[in-house]
C-alpha cells in the first residue's frame, strides 16, 4: 500500500497530450520531482514523497510514455524541449510558480534547459547522476550498435531496438541490475522492472528515436557552457561513485560548470533515491530548507545534560496486538527499576488503543506514521497472508515511518530507544549508522525469514538474501544494537538455516541475542481461581465456553466466519456450548453472521482474562494469543494463515515445544471438522510445559542496565 496518497491529482495538457500529476502536502516551498525516462514513472520517488510532503509541497507527474500519462508513438513528442514543456505544463496546471526541481539522469538535462530558459520557475536544482555533454561516457556501454540486429545479446548489447522488441523483460532486468547494483536491492529492482513493464518497447523506442538536442552537442560546443552559466539558482549534484549507467565524471563536471555543490556517494549506485532513501531524503530536505531559507523554528530549547530527565522512546510494532501487551508489561517492570524513567510511545492503531487504555503517553508525531495494519490487511486474502512479501512490499511505509522517527529524535534527546519488531528502525539504523544517537534495544520473538515451499527458488533466494543482509549488518556494526532480546528461550528458535551457505538460525541467535523467556504480559497465577474469574466475567459453571478470536488486524474475518458456521454442529456435540466470537478492533461485528447461543463482541479489553476463563479457544496462528492460552493451560485450536511463514514455522515450532494446542489447516477444515476438533480437544487432558512468568522482569533488567 502507498504510504501517502496525493491530496490532489489531475491532468496537464501539452500539445493535446494528457500528463498525469499528483500534488502532496502544502507550504510556501514546492519540490517538483521530475519523472525519470519513460522506462519508469513517478513511483520511482515512492521513498521520498511521504517524507518530503510532510515538510514541503511536493509535485510529481508521470512521463509521457508511461504511468497514467499518454503514450504517443511519434518520436517528436519526446524531444528534450518537449519534456521541458511537459514540466512547465504541470507547473502551470498545479499553480506552481517556482520550485526546487529534481531531475534524474537524462531528465537532469531537461531541468538544466528549463532553469536556463525559465529562470523564474526554478529556485533550486538537484541533479542525480546527470547526463551531460561534459564528462566521460561509460566504456562498458560503448561499442554496441543500437540499430543493428545481432545473433546473440549479452550485457550492454541488450540495449538494442531489436532486443527490446523481442526480449523486453529481459532487457529491463539487465538494465535495472546495472542501475541498482548494490547488494540486497531485490525490491528496488523488482519495482523498477514492474514499472518498465507498464509501458511497451515500441513506446520506449519512440522516446529514444526523438530528434535529440543533447545528442547533437559536444563538450566543446560553447553553447553548452552558456546553458550551464544561465542557471541562476543553487545547484546540488548527487552521484553514486559506482554508478554503472552514468559516469561520476559527468556529475563532477556539471557541478563545476554550474558552481553547484557536489556529493559523491562512495559505494553508491545509479538509483540512489531508491537504494539509499534515508540519506537522500535528508539531503533533499536540507537543500530545500536552505533554498526556502525556511525560517528556522523561532523558538528552540536545548536542555543541559544534567537537567534532562531520563527518557525512553518505545516503538511497538502494530502488526497484531501481541507486541503492545508485552511492551506494556516490560515498561511496567522498567519503571520499577528506574522510577524516574519517562516513556514516550511512537505507535499507531491498534496499539494506540491499548496504550491509551493503560494511560501511556503517545508521542504526537505518531499521527504521521503510515498505517502498517492497513497495509497488512490489503495484502491478505481469504485466511492467507504472505507475511514475508507483505513486509517486503511495506518498504515505502517503513521508509516513511523511519523518517517520522528521525524527525523526533533529531530534535529531542532520549536516553534509550526500544524497538519491538520495529523493522524500519533496525534496518535504517544499520544502513545509516551515524543516525544512532541513543542506547538502542532490539526485541523480537522470531529470527529468520523462511520461504514457503510454493514460493520456489525465487522465494528461497529472496529470504536468504534478506537474512544475509541482516547478518552482514550485525557483523559490520555489532555495537549498534546495545541489546538484542529474543522474547523466548533458546529452544524456541527454529532448526532451519538462514539460507544455503548461511549459519544455522539457532546457533547464530544464541550468539547474538539475550533470551528473556516468553513475556506474557500477565501473571497466570492471577487466574488461579478460575471459578471466581468465570463468575466475574458472567460465565456459568455448567457452560462450556468457547472463545473465537482472530487477533488485532482485519485479516481474520474469514476464519471467524468459518468457525461461526461450525457452531450448530459443535453445539450438537457439546450441548452446553456457548460460543463467543470476538471481532477485534478492525472487524465490524455487524458484518458477522449471528446464530442462537452465539455472541459476537467487538474489541474486548484484557481479552486474556476471558481466554484464561474459557474452556476452549479457537484462534489464528499468531504467537501472543496462542501463548496466552498455553500459559493459562487452555485447550485450543489454531489455524496458521496460509503463506504466513512466522505462524507456520516459528510459532508452530514453539507451540510444539510446549506441547500446546492443535494445529488446523484452514484450507481443508470444514465446519464439521472444526466442530469435531472442538469436541475432541475438550476431552484431551492438558499437559503443557509451564510458561515462565518472569519474562518481562528479565527483559526489563537487561534494558535498565543501559539507563
Amino acid at each position: 500500500m502507498r504510504a501517502r496518497l496525493p491530496d490532489r491529482d489531475g491532468y496537464a495538457q501539452r500539445d493535446g497530450l494528457k500528463i498525469f500529476y499528483e500534488v502532496f502536502g502544502d507550504g510556501p516551498q514546492t519540490i517538483l520531482l521530475l519523472p525519470p525516462w519513460a522506462i519508469n514513472h513517478s513511483r520511482t520517488w515512492k521513498a521520498q514523497v511521504p517524507y518530503l510532503s510532510r515538510h514541503f509541497r511536493v509535485v510529481t507527474y508521470d512521463p509521457v510514455g508511461n504511468g497514467r500519462s499518454d503514450r504517443p508513438q511519434d518520436p517528436n513528442q519526446y524531444t528534450d524541449w518537449k519534456r521541458v514543456a511537459d514540466a512547465i505544463a504541470v507547473m502551470d496546471a498545479t499553480g506552481t510558480q517556482e520550485a526546487v526541481i529534481v531531475g534524474i539522469c537524462t531528465e537532469a538535462w531537461v531541468a538544466t534547459l528549463l532553469a536556463g530558459e525559465h529562470p523564474q520557475r526554478a529556485n533550486g536544482l538537484v541533479f542525480f547522476a546527470p547526463v551531460s555533454p561534459y564528462g566521460e561516457s561509460m566504456p562498458e556501454r560503448e561499442g554496441f550498435s543500437f540499430d543493428e540486429p545481432r545473433d546473440s545479446y549479452e550485457g550492454w548489447a541488450k540495449e538494442n531496438r531489436h532486443y527490446w522488441l523481442s526480449n523486453y523483460k529481459d532487457f529491463l532486468e539487465f538494465f535495472f541490475s546495472q542501475a541498482i547494483d548494490e547488494p540486497h536491492s531485490t525490491k528496488q529492482i523488482e519495482d523498477s522492472v514492474g514499472w518498465g513493464l507498464e509501458t511497451d518497447p515500441k513506446t520506449l523506442l519512440a522516446t529514444v528515436d526523438a530528434p535529440e538536442y543533447l545528442g547533437t552537442l559536444t563538450a566543446a560546443d560553447p553553447q553548452v557552457a552558456e546553458l550551464y552559466r544561465k542557471i541562476e539558482c543553487p545547484v546540488l549534484v548527487i552521484h553514486g561513485e559506482h554508478d554503472r549507467l552514468v559516469s561520476p565524471t559527468r556529475g563532477e563536471a556539471v557541478a563545476q560548470a554550474t558552481g553547484g555543490e557536489l556529493i559523491v556517494v562512495k559505494g553508491g549506485c545509479h538509483v540512489l533515491w531508491g537504494r539509499q532513501p534515508v540519506k537522500v531524503n535528508l539531503l533533499l530536505r536540507d537543500f530545500a530548507e536552505r533554498i526556502a531559507s525556511m525560517a528556522p523554528v523561532k523558538e528552540q530549547r536545548w536542555t543541559t545534560a544534567r537537567s534532562r530527565r531520563r527518557r525512553a522512546l518505545y516503538i511497538s510494532s502494530p502488526i497484531g496486538l501481541g507486541h503492545a501487551q508485552r511492551d506494556i508489561a516490560i515498561a511496567r517492570e522498567l519503571r520499577h527499576l528506574r522510577p524516574d524513567l519517562e516513556i514516550d510511545w511512537l505507535a499507531q492503531d491498534p496499539v494506540t488503543r491499548v496504550l491509551e487504555a493503560e494511560g501511556e503517553r503517545i508521542h504526537p508525531a505518531s499521527r504521521f506514521l503510515a498505517s502498517e495494519s492497513k497495509h497488512i490487511e490489503s495484502e491478505s486474502a481469504e485466511h492467507d497472508l504472505h507475511a514475508f512479501q507483505a513486509v517486503r512490499r511495506m518498504d515505502e511505509i517503513l521508509v516513511n515511518n523511519f523518517m517520522v522517527f528521525h524527525d523526533i529524535v533529531r530534535d529531542e534527546p532520549y536516553d534509550l530507544w526500544i524497538g519491538d519488531e520495529a523493522w524500519e528502525l533496525d534496518y535504517f539504523l544499520h544502513e545509516n549508522p551515524e543516525e544512532k544517537r541513543a542506547a538502542y534495544v532490539w526485541m523480537t520473538d522470531f529470527v529468520g525469514w523462511i520461504p514457503m515451499e510454493d514460493g520456489g527458488e525465487r522465494e528461497a533466494f529472496l529470504t536468504s538474501d534478506y537474512n544475509a543482509e541482516m547478518i552482514e549488518h550485525i557483523a559490520r556494526y555489532p555495537r549498534l544494537r546495545d541489546r538484542s532480546i529474543f522474547v523466548g528461550n533458546p529452544e524456541d528458535v527454529v532448526a532451519d538455516r538462514f539460507g544455503p551457505d548461511l549459519p544455522l538460525i539457532a546457533d547464530w541467535t544464541r550468539e547474538h541475542f539475550d533470551f528473556s523467556g516468553y513475556v506474557t504480559g500477565f501473571d497466570p497465577a492471577a487466574f488461579a481461581d478460575r471459578a471466581a474469574l468465570r463468575a466475574e466475567l458472567g460465565y456459568k459453571p455448567d457452560e462450556t465456553v468457547c472463545i473465537v478470536t482472530v487477533g488485532g488486524s482485519g485479516v481474520g474475518g474469514h476464519l471467524l466466519r468459518r468457525v461461526i458456521e461450525s457452531f450448530p454442529a459443535a453445539k450438537r456435540l457439546v450441548p452446553n456450548l456457548r460460543m463467543i466470537a470476538v471481532a477485534g478492533p478492525r472487524i465490524d461485528p455487524a458484518s458477522l453472521p449471528s446464530a442462537d447461543g452465539l455472541e459476537v463482541r467487538a474489541y474486548v479489553h484484557e481479552l486474556y482474562r476471558h481466554l484464561a476463563a474459557c474452556d476452549i479457544a479457537v484462534v489464528q496462528g499468531g504467537l501472543s494469543t496462542t501463548m496466552e492460552l498455553t500459559a493459562n493451560r487452555r485447550p485450543f485450536l489454531y489455524f496458521p494463515l496460509r503463506h504466513h511463514f512466522e505462524q507456520n514455522f516459528h510459532v508452530r515450532h514453539r507451540l510444539e515445544r510446549y506441547g500446546a494446542g492443535r494445529c488446523m489447516d484452514y484450507a481443508t477444515a470444514t465446519p464439521d471438522d472444526i466442530a469435531a476438533a472442538i469436541a475432541s480437544e475438550l476431552k484431551r487432558p492438558v499437559g503443557y510445559r509451564p510458561v515462565e512468568t518472569d519474562g518481562a522482569a528479565r527483559a526489563a533488567k537487561r534494558i535498565a542496565e543501559l539507563l
Binding site: R229, E232, C233, P234, A255, Q256, T258, G259, G260, E261, L262, I263, V264, V265, K266, G267, G268, Q276, K279, R290, S293, A295, P296, V297, K298, E299, Q300, R301, W302, T303, T304, R306, S307, E431, P433, R476
Partner: protein
C-alpha cells in the same frame, strides 16, 4: 597556553582610548566578537575563537577598561556609544566592511546599537544573554539593593554596590563570578572570570556604571524599544539560559521577539552559556553563520545575474556508505 594564537594584532585609537584587537584565520566571511562589560576582556571568547578561526576570519578586541586596551578615566569615556564606535574603529582598522557580530551581556546592548544604526556593517547578529530593555529587571533579591547608595548589609546582591566595590572588590568579584556561572562544576569558568576581573579595578567599573546615556541607545520605554529593535533587519539568533541570574531570560526572549529572530533557550543554563556549554554554542553559532552565508549568497547571486561571471565550485562533500 592558548589553543590558537592570533594571525595579526594591533591597536586603534578612538575617543580617548587605545583599543587592542586580534585577527585570526582568513576567508570572505568575518565573525566579530564584541567585548562585554569591562569586568572581562576578549578572552571570554576563548572557547569559541579557535574553532571559528578554522572556518572564518575572526576578530576579537578588548573593551576599553580591561585587557590590553587602555583604561581612560572619567565616566564619559565609558558610554555605550563609545563602545559601539570602538567596534566600528576596529572594523575599519582591519578593513572589515561587514561581519556577523556576536555580543554577550552588555555587549548585547552594544550589538543592538550596531545592528540598528549601522546595518550595512552587520550581516548577522548573535545575542548571548543580552542586556536589553525587555523582560524582568532582575530577581527580587537583586533589585532590592541600590547600586549607588551605601547599604547597611553586604550579604548576597548587596555586594553589587559602588561602595562595597571600593572597599571589598575581591569579595564582590568572587560573588559576582559565582552568579555569572551558577551551574554545578563551573570552577574553571569562575576562576577565569575572577582572574580577568582582577586585571581591572573598582574605579573603572564604577565609571562604566556612571557613564552618561548615549542618544543612540535603545529607549527604556518598552514600546519604543520594540520599534528600535525592529529596525534590525539582518538575521538574528538569541541564546539565553533559562536560569540566568544576572540578566533574566525574558530579556533575550524580548530581543528575539522584537527582531523576529530565533530564540534558543538553554534549559538549566546560566548567564554564560558560551563558557559553560561551549560545544552547543559553537554548533548553534556555526549553523547561524552558514545560514547567514546562504542568505548573503542569494543576495549576491541575484545581483550577479546581469554580470554572468563564472563561479567556481562552492563546496564538495563525500558521503561514505557503510
Amino acid at each position: 597556553m592558548r589553543a590558537r594564537e592570533p594571525d595579526g594584532s594591533g591597536y586603534v585609537e578612538n575617543a580617548g582610548a587605545r583599543i587592542y584587537y586580534e585577527v585570526f584565520g582568513s576567508g570572505p566571511k568575518t565573525l566579530l566578537f564584541l567585548p562585554t562589560w569591562s569586568l572581562v576582556h576578549s578572552r571570554v571568547w576563548k572557547l569559541q575563537v579557535p574553532y571559528f578561526a578554522r572556518h572564518y576570519r575572526v576578530i576579537a578586541f578588548d573593551g576599553r577598561g580591561n585587557g590590553k586596551s587602555s583604561r581612560p578615566s572619567g565616566a564619559e569615556a565609558y558610554s555605550a556609544q563609545n563602545f559601539v564606535d570602538d567596534a566600528l574603529a576596529v572594523m575599519d582598522a582591519t578593513v572589515t566592511a561587514r561581519a556577523t557580530v556576536a555580543g554577550y551581556s552588555m555587549g548585547g546592548l552594544h550589538l543592538a546599537m550596531l545592528a540598528a544604526n549601522h546595518a550595512s556593517r552587520v550581516a548577522g547578529a548573535v545575542f548571548i544573554g543580552p542586556v536589553a530593555p525587555f523582560g524582568a529587571k532582575g530577581r527580587p533579591e537583586r533589585t532590592a539593593f541600590s547600586w549607588s547608595e551605601p547599604l547597611p548589609t553586604s550579604e548576597g546582591w548587596a555586594k553589587h554596590n559602588k561602595h562595597y566595590w571600593k572597599r571589598a572588590y575581591d569579595d564582590w568579584l568572587a560573588f559576582f563570578a559565582g552568579k555569572v556561572l551558577t551551574e554545578p562544576h563551573s570552577t574553571k569558568g569562575i576562576e577565569d572570570v575572577i582572574g580577568w576581573g582582577n586585571e581591572t579595578n573598582a574605579d573603572v567599573l564604577i565609571a562604566t556604571y556612571e557613564a552618561p546615556e548615549s542618544p543612540g541607545e535603545p529607549p527604556s520605554d518598552l514600546a519604543q524599544a520594540a520599534q528600535y529593535y525592529a529596525r534590525i533587519a539582518c538575521p538574528v539568533l538569541v541564546i539565553h539560559g533559562s536560569d540566568d541570574e544576572v540578566i533574566a531570560h525574558s530579556a533575550g526572549a524580548g530581543v528575539a521577539k522584537a527582531t523576529g529572530g530565533t530564540l534558543v533557550t538553554i534549559a538549566g543554563g546560566g548567564h554564560a552559556p558560551h563558557l559553560r556549554h561551549p560545544v552547543k554554542v559553537n554548533i548553534l553559532l556555526r549553523r547561524f553563520m552558514d545560514d547567514v552565508a546562504a542568505t548573503a549568497d542569494r543576495a549576491a547571486r541575484s545581483w550577479r545575474t546581469s554580470q554572468s561571471t563564472p563561479r567556481g565550485l562552492r563546496a564538495e562533500h563525500t558521503h561514505t556508505l557503510r
